[in-house]
């Protein structure tokens, strides 16, 4: 597919990193020559220096033949204008990043009237992700499949959990619930486990199940399952606003700590039911005074990554709260991951992932491959791919235990007529099933690619 990306900042680069590995012809446009130079030196893409809203530059970049234009510069208006031009000049699909909360209310109108295919707001997306995590505090990360009917939750096994020392087949018989442990991270290595795999403390496991079943399972093994009732947020930026509004609706009691008085007043107008505290979030006494020790969730959303990490580490020490940290620059994420900071939220990564999910969906229409959704999971080291089984698929009717599948590949679950099924060896694919495959092999294109060649 021919894709034009306008703006190679954080989101743009993440998009490039992912999409350039997937056989697309990508052209980037940015005003900053050094940024263009950097990306063209590290990815197989073509670069143009200039303003993305310039019609002639868009023509040079080949907007006429392009299938998709993604505008992710820092300016909302520029992004929208870019998309508008591209739509008129090349009749391609367009995605714009629009982050101003002012536009957020009218997002639907903007999208429809300007003919955009997708509008993405990084802060809003990040806030939604945090809200989802607060609903289910044991998990580090939750992804949804099959229109929300299936969840993949990732969580860290603690010493006190009852599954430690059990093999997967034991777990299956013991807890009798329909779920699948589809990936295990141990000391930085990802593996797709089989029935003999024994769970140890500190493993990070990813579980595929329906929300009901996973709740049931976590309850059984002694993990926290109730949603949090109160939360403390440090930093009063845009994410805090979206998150505050969302949590207010969910009935979660909130305390927001923000150092700028003016911003506090603004927030208080925007979130009338929420308690806003004017103070320095890095002040220990203030945090303790405001009940850090007893809060159920702690969300560090200041603009400084280091501060967020330290705050989360401190919160882990002082309380048993679920902690969530926002990281903007994830260059050292392998180090951060080793620290016990709880869940990590990276708005640019989330944004890029939303866009990539859209792009992969598009690919389905253009080249007829049957991928529904594709998640890069565990930091891109594994993929969870949702396939739709076409009526002419050669695998239909064969028992799964007879299929010679690749190593490190697992058929996670089958959604058949709205029923979710964790398959065993005697199950088989039926037409119109939606099948989730978890694997460390990247680049599966067809369901038949799961077979060993």
């Amino acid at each position: 597919m021919d894709i034009i990306i306008v703006g190679c900042g954080k989101v743009g680069s993440t998009l490039l990193e992912q999409l350039s590995g997937e056989n697309h012809n990508i052209t980037v446009i940015d005003k900053d020559a050094s940024k263009v130079g950097r990306v063209t030196n590290s990815y197989d893409v073509m670069g143009f220096v200039g303003d993305g809203t310039s019609y002639s530059l868009q023509m040079d970049a080949g907007v006429e033949e392009a299938d998709l234009l993604i505008a992710v510069t820092g300016s909302d208006e520029l992004n929208l204008l870019c998309c508008l031009f591209a739509k008129k000049a090349g009749n391609c699909r367009t995605i714009a990043r629009v982050r101003n909360p002012l536009y957020n209310k009218d997002l639907h109108y903007i999208k429809e009237e300007l003919g955009l295919s997708m509008v993405i707001n990084p802060e809003y997306a990040a806030a939604m992700e945090i809200a989802r995590l607060l609903r289910f505090p044991s998990a580090n990360k939750i992804d949804t499949f099959a229109k929300g009917r299936v969840e993949m939750a990732r969580f860290k096994v603690q010493q006190e959990h009852k599954i430690c020392g059990n093999s997967l087949s034991q777990i299956r018989t013991q807890y009798k619930c329909d779920l699948l442990i589809c990936a295990v991270e141990r000391k930085g290595e990802v593996c797709i486990p089989d029935g003999n795999f024994v769970i140890e403390p500190d493993d990070i496991i990813s579980v595929i199940a329906t929300p009901v079943n996973s709740n049931y399972f976590f309850e059984k093994i002694g993990a926290d399952t109730h949603k949090v009732k109160d939360a403390m947020i440090i930093g009063g930026g845009t994410i805090t606003y979206y998150l505050g509004a969302q949590l207010q609706n969910m009935g979660i009691k909130l305390r927001i700590v923000e150092s700028n008085l003016q911003r506090c007043e603004e927030l208080s107008d925007l979130l009338p039911k929420t308690m806003i505290i004017n103070g320095d979030g890095t002040n220990k006494e203030l945090l303790l005074e405001e009940g850090l020790a007893n809060t159920e969730a702690f969300v560090a959303l200041t603009n400084i990554d280091e501060e967020n990490i330290l705050l989360a580490l401190y919160a882990r020490k002082q309380s048993r709260a679920k902690s969530i940290v926002k990281i903007d620059r994830s260059s050292f994420d392998e180090v951060i991951r080793e620290l016990d900071v709880g869940s990590i939220i990276d708005p640019k990564y989330i944004t890029a992932n939303y866009i990539i999910r859209y792009v992969r969906g598009m690919r389905k229409n253009s080249t007829e491959n049957s991928i529904e959704t594709l998640y890069k999971i565990l930091d891109g080291r594994a993929e969870a791919v949702e396939f739709l089984i076409e009526p002419d698929c050669p695998l239909i009717g064969q028992k799964l235990k007879n299929l010679q599948t690749k190593d490190n590949l697992l058929i996670g679950c089958i959604t058949r007529k709205r029923r979710v099924l964790i398959p065993g060896g005697d199950d088989s694919f039926q037409p119109d099933d939606s099948v989730i495959v978890v694997t460390t092999h990247t680049g599966l294109k067809e369901i038949t690619d799961i077979l060993r060649r």
Binding site: S20, T27, T40, N41, S42, D44, M46
Partner: protein
């Protein structure tokens, strides 16, 4: 420094060379020559060594600019060493240094020969000699990139290190497709020339071999008098194609994607054609008395100018007997060279244009010390980095020239011979003046001079830096 990826790519280049060596082997077989064995032996040696090198895939496929430079330089050296084997094995060029000189001259599209009597060579070797021009013209690694799915976006470093010009840009987003398009255009133009020459009644062997030489802007002929004994039409055809191959290939790409306006707007090509026309007009009056008619005068002037500026090196006449002014123009054209992004050598028209613009700007700022002016090229502003690299390139170019001249003059040939020999090899032209003029050859130089010129040819083809890097110890260190 990622040595394993360098090993891997060098290995692939050898495997490909093994394949390329089969072709002249077939030609030798067709003419029933014994040299077929020499080709088979060389191909087998290449294939086995290359095969061993690519056996283990490198785990870490990341490479940066310095690996790019080093890979390109090493690939070309290995390519030349292996390419010299057929000459050496067949004993038609008994000295290995001479065989190496001939091969490097081929791959770098120079066309300087150590052979006194070309006509006595066997057909297979003549074919290989010219075929190396064709391979070297567009670049081996560009070819490797077109057929091998190499590491992600990093191979732009290879394209940059191998392709001539001050700024290497892609035509389409993917390096692999870009390489494919370049080779496509290259093959198409070559095929066109072959067909036209065939129609003009040239024998099959000659039209293939001459077209390879023109396409790569090489210059190895197969007759002792180069192209003088071919017909008028054939000479004009070769002139036209030499000039066409000296044009930036982006021009053809824009034509192909039906953006002729963008093609015509290319500043470099306008100046390139202007320089050619100007040089012809300046030379014609001086040589009018040497030839029979106006057509012949123009043909010889145009052929020689086209041949020298594109750094091909074919000749139709002994320009060494021309008056001094005409010879000086040719000498200067040697340094100008063809367009960037073409198969030609030299400093390149684009660099000279940018340097001249910088000169004008500098003069201007001496008068108006507060004036601010950005230099534009093709309507785009030139980044400071590019400016700097152009200036450094020209200085380095002259530096290499002076040093080589000094070393070559140890052989005690005349001033004109030594200076033009170095100019002809560094700029990838072929024949020079006096002792290395169109009717002479490079055979009489000492081994040292030959090695210096081998270096010059490689340095000229790869635009200095990849080769100069080899001499920086820091490049070889792991850290």
């Amino acid at each position: 420094m990622n040595y394993s990826i360098i090993r891997y790519i060098v290995g692939w280049v050898m495997v490909i060379e093994c394949g390329l060596l089969i072709l002249p082997g077939l030609v030798a077989l067709l003419y029933g020559e014994k040299t077929v064995l020499a080709f088979l032996a060389a191909a087998a040696l290449c294939g086995v060594t290359g095969g061993l090198l690519v056996l283990r895939k490198p785990k870490n496929k990341v490479f940066y600019a310095r690996e790019g430079f080093l890979t390109v330089a090493l690939c070309w050296i290995v390519l030349s060493l292996a390419g010299a084997l057929p000459f050496f094995f067949s004993r038609e060029i008994p000295s290995f240094i001479d065989a190496l000189f001939e091969t490097v001259s081929g791959f770098t599209t120079t066309g300087a020969s150590i052979l006194a009597d070309v006509e006595s060579m066997s057909r297979g070797l003549l074919f290989w000699r010219s075929f190396t021009h064709w391979i070297g013209g567009m670049g081996v690694l560009v070819f490797v990139m077109a057929i091998l799915p190499l590491a992600g976006g990093y191979n732009i470093h290879l394209l940059k290190a191998e392709s001539p010009g001050h700024q290497v840009s892609k035509l389409v987003p993917k390096v692999r497709s870009t390489a494919g398009i370049l080779y496509g255009i290259y093959m198409l133009l070559t095929a066109l020339e072959i067909v036209i020459l065939l129609f003009s009644g040239m024998p099959w062997f000659d039209s293939f071999v001459l077209s390879f030489g023109t396409a790569g802007t090489g210059g190895f002929g197969i007759l002792n008098d180069s192209l003088a004994s071919y017909t008028v039409f054939q000479q004009w055809t070769v002139t036209a194609f030499m000039i066409l191959f000296g044009i930036n290939f982006n021009f053809y790409f824009f034509m192909l994607i039906r953006k002729p306006l963008q093609a015509i707007k290319m500043e470099e090509i306008r100046y390139y054609l202007g320089i050619i026309l100007g040089a012809i007009l300046l030379i014609v009056p001086w040589i009018r008395s040497l030839y029979g008619g106006w057509e012949e005068t123009f043909r010889n002037a145009a052929f020689q100018v086209g041949s020298i500026i594109t750094t091909t090196g074919y000749t139709t006449t002994d320009y060494d007997v021309w008056p001094q002014f005409a010879k000086t123009i040719l000498f200067l054209l040697m340094f100008v060279g063809a367009c960037s992004g073409s198969t030609g050598g030299g400093i390149k028209v684009s660099r000279i244009l940018i340097a001249l613009k910088a000169l004008k700007k500098e003069m201007n700022s001496l008068i108006h010390s507060r004036s601010v002016k950005r230099i534009h090229f093709d309507g785009h502003p030139i980044e400071h980095e590019v400016m700097r690299s152009v200036q450094v390139f020209i200085v380095a170019y002259l530096g290499v020239y002076v040093l080589s001249f000094l070393l070559v003059s140890l052989d005690n040939f005349s001033f004109e011979t030594s200076s033009s020999a170095v100019a002809a090899t560094l700029n990838n032209i072929g024949p020079g003046f006096a002792g290395v003029g169109p009717t002479m050859n490079f055979g009489d130089f000492s081994i040292l001079s030959k090695l210096v010129m081998i270096f010059d040819m490689l340095a000229g083809r790869l635009e200095l830096f990849p080769l100069l890097m080899l001499f920086r110890p820091a490049v070889w260190k792991k850290f």
